[in-house]
Symmetry: C2
Subunit: 343 residues, 2 copies
């Protein structure tokens, strides 16, 4: 059920629901045979740029799993294409940026991102997916948060240590803030465009922000994430990160109607850290989905018990579904959460 | 000054010191030109197995930097060689284990580790390094904690997601605990052997334990880490991990005279989380050492201010020195900490 009556949107608003809603990050992905069949015919970027195909992928987990929300099929780096930094989705390697942005001069060369020109296909995917969902469940849009997107731009791809990113932050703070301003501005317009096209909630992925300590988060990230969330209107924002146990109060301060928690913090402790007056999303370890269904049941129950039936819990993993996950385990989790949380 | 009068050992005992002692994880490593000169002539394993060379490397940062402790040059995986799992230190890749231990049957095939036969060269390195130090500063020995060592054994090398490790934990808990028992037993004998050979403190590296949530830590790790620390006698233990913001009270419960904190938690908040009645070590982000000396000074000062001059703080990074770090920045940090903390 879409619109304001859906269990997902009610939970986001912290209203009582008949059961705890569940959706899963990367629920449209490689663990699904029907997704792999699409990918056999199209590259990742081709899929993203083809609104019919991307809308189809967006709906696959809704059909297969019975999740309570769909999430747009896209990538957090699509917005970077017009920057001319040589973005490539290399096979098996994840994204590569061939001309990383590492100095004040590199930052100065960046032109503002013309969002409408950059990602018209994303907005079209949102429109088609929303239409195809036909009110069954709400559609979630998303974008990368400024820090996480900046980290790819500066490192040139995925990173463990974020040394270039931190060096730019520490040694060239003006350039850093200029880069973050540019990204925050584009991100807000991108999310508002998705909402205008039909997204009923949006998630801001600050996936790698847990690499920072609280002082760095406060100085270099918080103002920009807050700027994004202040500028987004018309739909609630889910503010997500991993490894954020010590950052949670600051993430709350930055904004979001829902704060994402990963499994490295107990759900009840995490909820207290962000405040019981905000909704939370999480927080099963995705690795649990590779264990037996009996274990999945036991661990899902533990997460639900820590939520204590309090309105405002959206069940999810602490990060995306891993591609090695058996699809029947994912289906089992959705059913288990609905069954155990039925009120 | 070695022995009980050293600033390092006094801080470990939470006694007042004239200044805050500092040593750095991976202080003997690739960022040092004199280390790179040694590595040009010897492979990593050759260096570890050659007590004269390893003792020389152990002393290099003491001569160059004026740190308040030396740490044994060795590797946490050396102890695994007798298991016959095909351990190799591959160039540029880090350690590889060619025959990973992933099932109950794999675990059942493992024979207990004969520590004295496995690493006589480590004990000899400790003896020679201690002699060469001649009482200037204390010598720290170390070992990998059972979880972190097990994660290499099960994954076959470094990992981001630890999926095989968690699957073994969840689906075959008896095999997991048998593996952890075997490692805990060998680790305790290894550390006691280093202490007998002259190590004046030891660090237990549970570097990757932050991949787990608190429930998993309590069930699958804590009993084994505690067993190691209970069995170690004659020298204080520094209990170290990264990404542990939500695990700190449990790490304290597991044991250690000093608890290591990484930069993802504020030092004062981390110290309160482990309890003010235990010493702490940390917690500057190693990335700060790649920034300018003015930034290094500012950030070192912030760490010292959070320690508030309370006895029981050993200054360190939150993880090892990165190989791209300018050696003069490392030297500057040591001097800055001594200067700013002079009482």
């Amino acid at each position: 059920m879409s619109g304001s009556e859906s269990v997902f949107l009610k939970a986001v608003r912290r209203e009582p629901t008949p059961c705890t809603p569940i959706w899963l990050m990367r629920q449209a992905g490689r663990y699904l045979p029907e997704y792999r069949a699409m990918r056999a015919r199209h590259s990742f970027l081709e899929l993203c740029r083809n609104p019919d195909a991307a809308a189809e992928v967006t709906l696959q987990p809704v059909e297969r799993l019975g999740v309570d929300a769909a999430i747009l099929f896209a990538d957090i780096l699509l917005l970077l294409e017009p920057l001319g930094v040589g973005l490539e989705f290399a096979k098996g390697e994840g994204p590569v940026i061939h001309r990383p942005v590492r100095t004040a001069a590199d930052v100065a060369r960046l032109a503002p991102i013309d969002v409408d020109a950059a990602v018209p296909f994303v907005f079209e995917t949102v429109r088609r997916a929303r239409r195809a969902l036909a009110g069954r469940v709400p559609l979630i849009g998303f974008a990368g948060a400024p820090f996480t997107v900046a980290s790819y731009l500066v490192e040139g791809g995925a990173s463990r240590e974020f040394l270039h990113t931190k060096r730019l932050m520490y040694d060239e703070p003006e350039a850093w803030h200029r880069l973050m301003d540019l990204l925050a501005d584009a991100t807000a317009r991108y999310l508002n465009g998705q909402i205008a096209a039909g997204a009923e909630a949006v998630q801001l992925f600050d996936s790698w922000v847990g690499a920072l300590g609280p002082d760095d988060y406060r100085a270099y990230v918080l103002p920009h994430s807050r700027a994004v969330m202040k500028a987004v209107t018309g739909a609630p924002v889910i503010h997500f990160g991993t490894g954020t146990a010590a950052l949670l109060p600051l993430m709350r301060e930055a904004g979001g109607e829902v704060i994402g928690l990963d499994w490295r913090v107990d759900l009840d402790a995490g909820w207290r850290a962000v405040g019981l007056d905000v909704a939370v999303q999480g927080n099963l370890d995705p690795a649990v989905l590779l264990a037996s269904p009996a274990i999945i049941r036991e661990r899902a129950r533990a997460v639900l018990e820590r939520a204590a039936g309090r309105p405002g819990h959206v069940f999810n993993l602490g990060h995306g579904v891993h591609q090695a996950t058996p699809v029947e385990h994912v289906k089992a989790l959705v059913d288990i959460v609905h069954e155990l949380s039925a009120r």
